[in-house]
Structures are given as structure tokens and as C-alpha cells.
């Protein structure tokens, strides 16, 4: 019982709780999108929109879940996450919403017609410029530093001293 109270009151920070709830809702939206495709009259026009919004939100939610750290949440990563979720949603949304006008006289953007350029350059390349850089720049503060590694190693030494290190699910190594 004590363990459960500790978990409920201190273990689950609000960022992770929000990320889990958001991930659940996003996956549910994607599921509804797929379910709608089984409609005997064909896939309704709104079904791809559920995926176009659900996919960026689910990816953003699981990244926030992984990056959140205690009470500080995702700290300076809020901006990069919002940017990437936003451009994925906008990119997919633009591809769905903009009228199809590809033809021999189309204007080309970096060698591709507009809607294709949005997909390739915005959805496919812009996140590369933002996310890995944000990950590296916030690495020590947000992800991992030497103190963290030492805490884990210290705990491992203590466990070993206290009675032998159990491997994985608890079967001691021979």
C-alpha cells in the first residue's frame, strides 16, 4: 500500500501523465481512422485526417514521455517538440487540403511541385535540422550526464554487495 501511495503522489509527474493521456487519445484517433476504412461505402474523407493529426501527436507524445525528466518536464525541449509536431501536422494537412494541381506547367520548389515539396522537404527534412540538434544541445541537462551514470553504477554496486546481482527477470547468473 505504501508503495502505491508513493507512486501516486510522487512518482508520476504531470508531464508524463499528460504525455500518456495524449498518446492514448492519438492512438485511439488512429484506430478510429482505420476502423472507418472498413465502411462498406468506402473510406470517409475524414479518416485520413485522423491519421494526419494522430500520427504527429502520437510521435510527439512518446518523445515527450521519453524526454521528460522529473518535475522540470521537457524544459527547453518544448519548442522543438511543438515545432516538429506542428510541421508534421501542417505538412500532412497541406497535402490533404491543397488542391491537386500537378501538371507540366506546375511551379517547382527545389525541383518538385508544391505539394510534393512540402512532403519531402518539410515533413522529411525539417525535423532533421531541429530534433537531433536539440537533443545534443540539451543532452547533459535533460537526458544524461556523468552524475546520472554514476548514480546507476553506485546502485548496481550496492545491489551486488547486498546479495548478488539478479539478471533481467530475477534469475541469478551462473
Amino acid at each position: 500500500m505504501n508503495d502505491q501511495r508513493e507512486y501516486v503522489h510522487t512518482g508520476a509527474d504531470s508531464t508524463r501523465r499528460s504525455a500518456i493521456a495524449t498518446l492514448f487519445v492519438a492512438v485511439l484517433a488512429i484506430a478510429i481512422g482505420y476502423a472507418a476504412a472498413f465502411n462498406s461505402t468506402g473510406t470517409p474523407a475524414w479518416a485520413p485526417w485522423l491519421l494526419a493529426l494522430g500520427i504527429p501527436i502520437s510521435l510527439g507524445a512518446i518523445m515527450i514521455l521519453g524526454a521528460a525528466r522529473g518535475a522540470r518536464g521537457v524544459g527547453p525541449l518544448k519548442g522543438p517538440f511543438a515545432f516538429v509536431v506542428g510541421i508534421l501536422a501542417l505538412g500532412f494537412g497541406a497535402a490533404l487540403a491543397l488542391p491537386g494541381s500537378e501538371g507540366p506547367l506546375s511551379n517547382l520548389w527545389l525541383g518538385l511541385p508544391a505539394r510534393a515539396a512540402i512532403v519531402i522537404y518539410v515533413v522529411g527534412l525539417l525535423p532533421i535540422v531541429v530534433l537531433p540538434i536539440a537533443y545534443a544541445l540539451t543532452f547533459e541537462a535533460q537526458t544524461l550526464n556523468a552524475k546520472d551514470v554514476e548514480r546507476v553504477r553506485q546502485l548496481a554496486r550496492e545491489r551486488e554487495a547486498a546479495g548478488g546481482q539478479a539478471n533481467s527477470a530475477g534469475v541469478p547468473p551462473q
Binding site: 498518446l23 492512438v27 510534393a116 546502485l155 533481467s168
Partner: protein
């Protein structure tokens, strides 16, 4: 990334006599380097830890290149360009997720897997699941799921190797399979994952160089991307629409399965254990993403380029989309570049096969005994023995009908995704996840994937356009994981060991 797609029957091409000496020479050189690396690695493999996780002593650059190498298969060089040739930009939704998957994996899994490895001396992915939920059942079930997926992957990779080796050396498909698996087996059994990693470094470098050179050549030959687009737009503009010839639901579905599903691919996730210094993870996502983009340049450029060259009459129409890369290489590019790409395809399949053989051997000698409450005494010796058995089984399976092998290969990615993403990726980051939720989720992923794929294979059931078994299974597995964890939430805290809790809170 796209190793799950059917790589079988990908290169049914005979080299022209004029090209054969150069291609054979480069092929022989390629195999000589693989053998040399393997001999070097075998001398350094002394323990099960060396064999399965390279003694946790791999540096950042080697790990990055190796991870890029196992993330792609022959599909990136042959099937992928063929897919773009057939459906246009819709095929790009398989590779576009690379922009986010590497850094997503770093945030969600890399740190926690690496630290768990530090705290518990873990060597496999089921190990991490067993430690997270303090459950031999969850560890055993995830091990079974991975093993089932590996059977499919191995058969398709063995077949792809056979096809490539037959194309280069003209030895026949059957002998091609045995030679390819024999070479892969030799370095897998002797040097374990250490040989695999350093061969991956060589093979990944080869793939990146080949891809960049082909990309530059296609742009130059086609007069730039703009000219290539103009030609396609004049003849078949739909190909350059945002979804190509796919439906929006189908294209978006690819993006979902290949982005979220990347968190459950054991050949890539397993690598996190091997990094020598966990602090080197800082630059891992950036380096891996750049490497992956370089390797995928060929995928994009050949598919569109060949389409434009055929439409403008510079190349004869293809007999099948999968001929896009071979046709370009044998009719347009310098023969040395063609030879480099053929070796790159062999490299891609061998790299993936080695990784899966090693993971499969670890499951049989390590995870399944643990699930049964036992430990194998000499994991290194048994690991080598099981490696040989898996390779032989894969080679025999690959000799079966192409349709059967393609079927086995199709569900690999989806099976890994649906069984591992919720339990592993979400579970390592959410203290409210429970053992029951994990077991229910893994079971759901396993059952739904196998049932739907089998029903589709037997033509007992047909999905609506845009819906795949992989996507349905992954969504179902997620929802079951959340619902069962919520229903059993009172047990969540009691299932966490203190060291696992620390790793999850950092």
C-alpha cells in the same frame, strides 16, 4: 527501417558478359574484406558478453554506422526504388520517418536501455522487458515474439543473398543462398556481434558511398531534379502528387507503421547496449540520421530518375518495377559503380542477417532458459551452436517457394512493432505500466499479426485500401496495453525494482 518489406525475388537479373569481370572482381574484394574483419573479430571474442553485445565496448562512430547498416536491407537499393517507380512519391512515406525515428529512439529507449544494461548486465531486449516488469513470463513471451519475427526475416534475407550472389557469380539461386548464408554464418559464429558490428561498419560505409555516387550520377544524367520532375509531370503527373498513386490513408499508414514501429525493431534497439560510454549518446541521433539520409538517397533518386528516363525514351520500359536499379546500373552508370551497388546490396542483406542470427541465438540460449527459470552454463558455446542451426534453418526455408518466403518476410516489421513498442518503449518510460498490461499487449500483437497476415495470405480476408495487418496489430496492442495497465494499476509500483525505477526517473 524497411527490412520488413519483401526483399525476396528482388534481383532476377543476369549480368551482361562485358560487365561480369568488374562486378565479380569487386564482389571478390568485398568478400575478402568481410573474411579479414571476421578473422580479426573472432580472435577478440572470448565470452558470451563479447559474443552477444560486443563486450559493451563499441565506440560512437562504429555503433552509428553499424546501426545505419542494419536499419536498411536490400529493399532500400532494389525494392524501394522499384516501389517509387511504380507508385511515385507515396513510396517515400516508408523512409520519411527517418527524420524523426532516430532521435525518438534516443529519447525513448537509448538512455534507459543503456543504463539498464549498466545496472543489470543485460544483453537482450527480452532481458530489459523481464527486468522492467520483474517477469519471466513477459521476458519469455517477448522472446518468442522476436524469434517468430526472426524466422521470417532470416528466410527473406537468405533468399535475397542468394539472388544477389547468383547475379554476381552465376552459381544458381540454391548455391547462392548457401554461399551467402555460409559466409554470414562464418563470421556470425566465429566473431559473434563483434564481427557483425565491424562488418556492418564496412558494409554501411559501402552502402553510403554507393548511394551518394548513384544519386549524383542520376541527377547529372537527368539534368537535375527539376528536369526529371518536368519529364514525369508531362507524362504521369499523379506520380509527383503528395501521395503518388497511393491513397492518403495508405501513405499515412506507412508513415505510422515505420515511425512508431521503429521503436520495436530489435536489430536497431539491441545496439544501444553496446555503446562503450553512455555519454556518447549525445551525438548518436544526429550522426545516424545523416548516415541514413545518405544511404536513402539512392532510394529516392533511382525511383524517380528511371521513371523519367523511361518516359522520355532514354531507357526501354521495365519488365517489372524491381528492375529499376539493375536497369539503370547495367545500362547507364559506369560499370564500377554498378559493381559497387551490387556489393552494397549483398552487404545490406548480410548485415541484416548477421544481426538477426545473433539476436535469435541470444533468445534461444539466454532468454528462453531464463523464462523457464534456468540458465545455460556456457552461453558462448551454445550461442555459437544455435547460430549455426538458425543459419541452416534460414537457408533451407529460403529454398522454399518465393511466395511463402515473401509471406514470412512481410510480417517481421509489424510483429516486432506490435509486440515490443508498447511493452518496451512505453513501458520503460511510464511507471503506471503493469506486468499484466505488458503480457496482454505482447500476446495481442503476436496473435493479431499472425492471424491477420495468415488470413490475408490464404486470401480468406482482404483489407480495405490503406489498412495493413501491421498497423491494426500495433494499434490493438497499444490500446490493450493502456486498458489492461489501467485496470491493474494498483500493482504497478510493486512491480518496479529500485534500480529500474531510478533508470526510469533519470
Amino acid at each position: 527501417m524497411m527490412a520488413a518489406l519483401p526483399v525476396s525475388l528482388l534481383l532476377q537479373v543476369s549480368l551482361p558478359n562485358a560487365a561480369r569481370p568488374a562486378v565479380v572482381a569487386v564482389g571478390v574484394l568485398y568478400f575478402a574484406v568481410v573474411v579479414a574483419i571476421s578473422i580479426w573479430a573472432a580472435r577478440r571474442t572470448r565470452t558470451a558478453n563479447d559474443f552477444f553485445v560486443a563486450g559493451k565496448g563499441i565506440g560512437l562512430i562504429a555503433l552509428t554506422v553499424a546501426s545505419v547498416s542494419v536499419s536498411v536491407s536490400g529493399f532500400a537499393f532494389i525494392g524501394g526504388p522499384g516501389f517509387i517507380y511504380a507508385v511515385g512519391l507515396g513510396a517515400m512515406y516508408i523512409v520519411l520517418p527517418a527524420a524523426v525515428t532516430n532521435v525518438m529512439g534516443a529519447w525513448v529507449l537509448a538512455k534507459r536501455m543503456r543504463l539498464l544494461g549498466e545496472a543489470r548486465s543485460l544483453i537482450t531486449i527480452p532481458d530489459a522487458i523481464g527486468a522492467r516488469y520483474r517477469s519471466r513470463g513477459a521476458q519469455g513471451l517477448s522472446a518468442v515474439a522476436i524469434l517468430v519475427g526472426i524466422i521470417g526475416y532470416m528466410a527473406t534475407n537468405a533468399l535475397a543473398m542468394g539472388v544477389v550472389i547468383n547475379s554476381i557469380f552465376g552459381v544458381g539461386l540454391g548455391w547462392g543462398i548457401w554461399i551467402g548464408m555460409g559466409v554470414t554464418l562464418a563470421y556470425s559464429a566465429s566473431g559473434g556481434i563483434l564481427a557483425g558490428i565491424y562488418n556492418d561498419v564496412f558494409q554501411g560505409t559501402l552502402m553510403a558511398v554507393a548511394s551518394v555516387l548513384v544519386f549524383l550520377f542520376v541527377l547529372s544524367f537527368g539534368g537535375g531534379l527539376g528536369e526529371i520532375s518536368r519529364t514525369i509531370l508531362a507524362h504521369d503527373a499523379v506520380l509527383l502528387g503528395p501521395w503518388g498513386k497511393l491513397t492518403p490513408l495508405a501513405a499515412l499508414s506507412f508513415f505510422f507503421v515505420f515511425s512508431m514501429g521503429s521503436l520495436g525493431q530489435p536489430q536497431a534497439v539491441h545496439k544501444y547496449y553496446m555503446l562503450r560510454d553512455p555519454l556518447q549518446l549525445k551525438w548518436y541521433p544526429l550522426l545516424k540520421t545523416v548516415g541514413l539520409v545518405l544511404v536513402l538517397l539512392l532510394y529516392f533518386s533511382v525511383g524517380l530518375g528511371v521513371k523519367a528516363f523511361v518516359l522520355s525514351g532514354r531507357l526501354a520500359p521495365l519488365t517489372s518495377p524491381d528492375q529499376a536499379t539493375p536497369t539503370l546500373l547495367l545500362n547507364v552508370t559506369p560499370i564500377v559503380l554498378a559493381a559497387l551497388v551490387f556489393s552494397g546490396v549483398a552487404a545490406a542483406t548480410m548485415s541484416a542477417a548477421n544481426s538477426f542470427i545473433n539476436i535469435g541465438a541470444a533468445i534461444v540460449t539466454h532468454d528462453l532458459p531464463i523464462a523457464l527459470g534456468r540458465r545455460v552454463k556456457n552461453e558462448l558455446r551454445w550461442g555459437r551452436a544455435v547460430t549455426i542451426l538458425i543459419a541452416i534453418a534460414a537457408a533451407i526455408t529460403a529454398q522454399q517457394s518465393g511466395a511463402m518466403v515473401a509471406f514470412l518476410g512481410i510480417f517481421g516489421w509489424g510483429l516486432f512493432a506490435s509486440t515490443l513498442v508498447p511493452a518496451l518503449a512505453v513501458g520503460l518510460n511510464w511507471q503506471g505500466a503493469t506486468r499484466s498490461g505488458a503480457i496482454a499487449s505482447i500476446s495481442t500483437g503476436l496473435f493479431v499479426t499472425l492471424a491477420l497476415e495468415t488470413a490475408a495470405y490464404l486470401k480468406a480476408f482482404k483489407f480495405p485500401a490503406g489498412v495493413t495487418a501491421s498497423a491494426v496489430a500495433m494499434v490493438a496492442s497499444f490500446l490493450v496495453f493502456f486498458v489492461v495497465s489501467w485496470l491493474t494499476r494498483r500493482s504497478a509500483a510493486a512491480e518496479l525494482d529500485d534500480d529500474v525505477r531510478l533508470v526510469m526517473e533519470l
